[in-house]
Symmetry: C3
C-alpha cells in the first residue's frame, strides 16, 4: 500500500514542508522508522531520536524546529491524534473470516445475519442470534440463547455463556469468559457452603471492548451490565450484578466486586480493587493498585490503600517518608525537656 | 413454571399474610420485580424500594411493618436464606448435555460412567475416568489419566492436565486450567534458569467450585490439594504444592504462592497475596488486597500490606491519617521549648 | 523405571554411604517418600522428617549427621541442586504427541518442520512456520503468519495471534494468549474512545516459558519483546510495547504497563504493578505486591507501595508500627511542657 502524503495532510488538516509528492508505505515509531515510513513526534522525551530517525515523513507540532532538510514535515496541531487518525483510516486490520466453516456447529434454531464469519470448531448453540458482519474466531463457544449484534469481532477460545446479550461493534479478545457464575454461596449451620444458583445474565452494550482472559460473571438475578463505549483491559474481574457506565476505561487486572456501580467517563488504573455494594460516580479516576472500600460520589483523582483523594494521599505519603525525622525530633525534644527540667530544678535548689 | 406460595411458605417455614392461593413465576430483586414475581427484603438499605416494588409476593422478617395491602407477605426468620432456598429448589439451572457428541474424542482406554454428557470437540485422553452424570462442555481438554467423579460440571475451554484427580460434584467454570506446571526453575552458574520438571499433580476433593480463568498448578512433587467444599473465585492463582483446607472461600484475583497451606473455614478477600512456605490456620479471615508474608496460626481478621490484626491495622491507619497533626504538634513543641529556654536564660542572666 | 544410585552419585558428584547397589524407582518429598524412593534434605526446617522418612535413599550435605543405618545416603555439596539434576535427567515428562491429528487444520500455505506434533482441533493458519520437534496441543489456535521455532511445547487452548514470532524451546501453558490487542484508545471531543489499531506484534525469544492464562499484548507499532531465557508465571499481564530482558523471572499476577522496559536477570514478585513508560535496570528485585511508579536504574531490592529501597521500606514500616508510641510521646511532651511553663511562671511571680 502506498499513501500520498497530500491525502494524509488533508486528513489531519496539516501543512507539508518538504516533498509534497511523497508517498509513504508504513507507519513506525520514531526510533524504528525506515525510509518510506511515516512517524510522529509529540513528547519532548522522544526528541532525542529526531536527529537520527530514518523516517521519510514526520508529523510535528507548529512550533517544532524543522532543523533537518532531508525529511519531510507535516505540521499539525496534535501530531499524536493525527497519527492515530492515519492509523485508523489506512491501517485498521481486516481480520478476514468468511462464511461458516464446515467444522463449526451452528444449531438449526439460530438467527444468523448477513455476511457473518464463523471460524473453525466454533459452537453456536440453540437460540443464538448473530447480527450482520459479525465474526467469531476459532474454538469459541456461544451457549444457549446468546445474542450478538452487528459488526462484532470475537476472537479465539472465547466462552459466552447462556442468555448473555451483547450489542453492536463489540470486540472480545481471546480467552475471555462472559457469563460464568457469580461467586455466591450461603453457609449452612455447619459452615458448609450451599451454592446460590446464578440465574441472571450479562448485558454488554454497543462499542464495548474487552481484552484477553477477562472474566465477567453473570448476575445472581437480573443483569451484570457494561454500558456503551466502555473499554476493559486484560485479566479484569467483573463480578455479578456489577454495573459499569458509559465511556469508562478499566486497566488490566482490576477487580470489581459484586453489585458495585461504576459511573461513566471513569478511568480506573491497573490492579485496582473495588469492594462490593458501593457506588463510584461519574468522572472518577482511581490510581493503579488503589483499594476502594467506600462509595466515591465526587469526581476527582483518588489513590492509595485504602484510597484517599490524591492530594491527601500524596501528603500522607510525604509524612510517612518523613517519619524517621519526626522520630528523631521527638527524641531531641525529650532530651531538651529533660535538660530544661534539670536546669529549673538546679535554680530552685540554689 | 408456576409455584404455589403455600409450597414456598412450607419450604422456608414461613407464614403467609395476604392471598394464600397465589402462585409465582419468577424471582427478582426488589427494585426489578414485576407482577407475578417473588422478591425478598432483608437489608435496611433496600427498604426504600418497598413502597414501589411491583412484586406480587415478598419474603420479610417477623418485625417488618407490613404497611402495603396490595402485596402478599411471607414472614420468615431469615428472608435472604429463605429466598436462596427457593432459588435452589426451583431455579437451579439444568445445563442440558446428553451423550457423547460425535465431534468429541474419547480415547478407547477410558472408563466412562453412566449418563455422562460430553460436548463438542471435547478431548478425553488415554486413561481418563469419568463418574456418572458428569458433564464436560465444548472445547474442553482432559489430558492423560485425568479422573473426575460423579455429578461434575466442567464448562467450556477448560484444560485439565495429565494425572490430575478430581472428586464428585465439582464445578469448574470456563477457561480455567488445572495442572499447569508449577513455577520452578534453578539458576545455573551463569544465572540461566534450568527448568525443574513438575512431576506432581493436582487433587481436588468433593464439592469444590472454581471460577473462570483460574490457574491451579501441579505440584513439583506430590500434590497440590484443594479440599472438600472449598470455593475459589475467578482469576485466582494456586501455585504448586499449595494445600487449601475444607469449606474455605477465596475471592477473585488472589494469589497463593508455592507450598503454602491454608486452613479450613477461612475467608480470603480479593487480590490478596500470600507468600510461599507459610501456614494460615483455620478460621482466618484476610481482608481484600492484604499481603501475607508470615504464618498466621490464630483465627481472626487480618488486613493490610503487610497484614496485621484488623484492629491494629485500623489503629495504624488512623494514626497515618493523623500524621499532619502530629507533624504540626512537633513543630509547636519545638517553638514552645525554644521560648521556655529563652525565658529561663533571661531569668538566669537577670 | 529403575535407576542405579551409582549413576545418580556420579551425576551429582556424590559419595554413597550405605548400599551402593541400590536402585530407586521414584522421587518423593521427605515426608511423603516410600521404600524405593529417592529424596533429599536441604533446609533445616525439614530435618524433623528425617527420623521417620521411608525413603530408601537420601541426598544430604557433607556435614549431615548420618544417624540412621536403615537408609542409604548420597553425600553431595548441594542436595537440592543434585535432586533437581536427577529430576531433569530421569524424570522430565515426555508429552507424547505425534504427527498431525486428522481433526487439526493446517493451512496448505504453511511450513511445518520434521517430527512435529499437532493435536486435535488445532488451527494453523495461513503463512505459519513451525520448527522441528515442536508440539501444539489440543484446541490451540495459531492465527496468520505465526512463527514457532524448534522444540517448542504449546499446551491446550492457547491463542497466538497473527504475525507473532516465537523462538526455540519455548513452553506456553494452557489458556495463555499471545498477541491480543494492546489497550490503546484515544478520546474524541465528546470523550468517546476511538480505538487505535494495534498493528505491531509480539516477539518471544528462545527458552522463554509462559505459565497458564497469561496475556501478552501485541505492540501498537513495532514489537512487544520477551527476551531469551525469561520465565513468566500464571496470570501475568504484559502490555503493548513492553520489553523484558534476558533471564528475568516474573511471578504470578504481576502487571507490566505499556512501553515499560524491564532489564535482564531481574526477579519480580507476585502481584507487582509497574506503570507504563519507565525503565527497570538489570538485576533489580521487586518484592511481591510492590507498586512501581518510577524508573529504577540501580540494582537492588525494592519493596512497597509506592516502592522504595528495601531497607528504607522496612525502616518506614517499623516507624509506622511505632506510631502509637510516637503519638503517646507527643502527648507526654505536651503535658511536661505545660508543667514546666507553670513551674517557671510560679517562680517568676514568686
Amino acid at each position: 500500500m502506498k499513501i500520498k502524503i497530500q491525502d494524509i495532510a488533508s486528513l489531519v488538516n496539516g501543512k507539508i514542508f518538504g516533498d509534497v509528492n511523497l508517498e509513504i508505505k508504513k507507519l513506525a515509531k520514531i526510533e524504528d522508522a525506515k525510509p518510506g515510513d511515516l512517524t510522529f513526534l509529540y513528547l519532548p522525551h522522544y526528541e532525542k531520536f529526531f536527529s537520527s530517525t530514518k523516517a521519510s515523513v514526520i508529523l510535528v507540532k507548529p512550533d517544532f524546529n524543522r532543523s533537518r532538510n532531508d525529511i519531510t514535515y507535516i505540521v499539525t496541531e496534535a501530531p499524536e491524534k493525527a497519527f492515530f487518525a492515519v492509523t485508523r483510516k489506512y491501517f485498521t486490520p481486516n481480520f478476514p473470516l468468511e462464511g461458516i466453516d464446515p467444522t463449526a456447529f451452528v444449531h438449526p434454531k439460530t438467527v444468523i445475519g448477513k455476511n457473518v464469519g464463523i471460524g473453525k470448531n466454533v459452537i453456536i448453540s440453540v437460540g443464538c442470534k448473530l447480527g450482520d458482519n459479525t465474526k467469531i474466531f476459532h474454538n469459541s463457544v456461544l451457549f444457549d440463547n446468546v445474542e450478538l449484534g452487528d459488526d462484532c469481532l470475537i476472537f479465539s477460545n472465547v466462552s459466552i455463556r447462556e442468555e448473555c446479550k451483547l450489542g453492536n461493534r463489540i470486540i472480545i479478545h481471546d480467552g475471555t469468559v462472559i457469563g460464568s457464575d457469580g461467586f455466591g454461596f450461603n453457609p449452612d449451620a455447619n459452615g458448609v457452603y450451599q451454592k446460590i444458583p446464578q440465574i441472571g445474565n450479562v448485558i454488554i452494550e454497543d462499542d464495548v471492548e474487552l481484552g484477553s482472559n477477562v472474566s465477567v460473571d453473570r448476575a445472581a438475578m437480573g443483569s451484570t451490565i457494561i454500558k456503551r463505549g466502555t473499554k476493559i483491559d486484560n485479566l479484569v474481574q467483573v463480578a455479578h450484578n456489577v454495573i459499569i457506565g458509559e465511556d469508562t476505561v478499566i486497566s488490566s487486572q482490576t477487580g470489581i466486586s459484586g453489585s458495585t456501580k461504576i459511573g461513566s467517563k471513569c478511568m480506573v488504573g491497573g490492579q485496582v480493587g473495588i469492594v462490593g455494594h458501593i457506588e463510584i460516580g461519574d468522572n472518577v479516576m482511581l490510581g493503579a493498585q488503589s483499594g476502594i472500600s467506600k462509595s466515591i460520589p465526587k469526581p476527582g483523582l483518588y489513590f492509595g490503600y485504602p484510597a484517599k483523594e490524591f492530594k491527601t494521599a500524596m501528603k500522607l505519603e510525604a509524612h510517612i517518608r518523613n517519619l524517621p525525622n519526626y522520630a528523631e525530633k521527638i527524641k531531641q525534644l525529650e532530651t531538651e525537656i529533660k535538660n530544661l527540667k534539670e536546669q529549673i530544678n538546679r535554680k530552685e535548689i540554689s
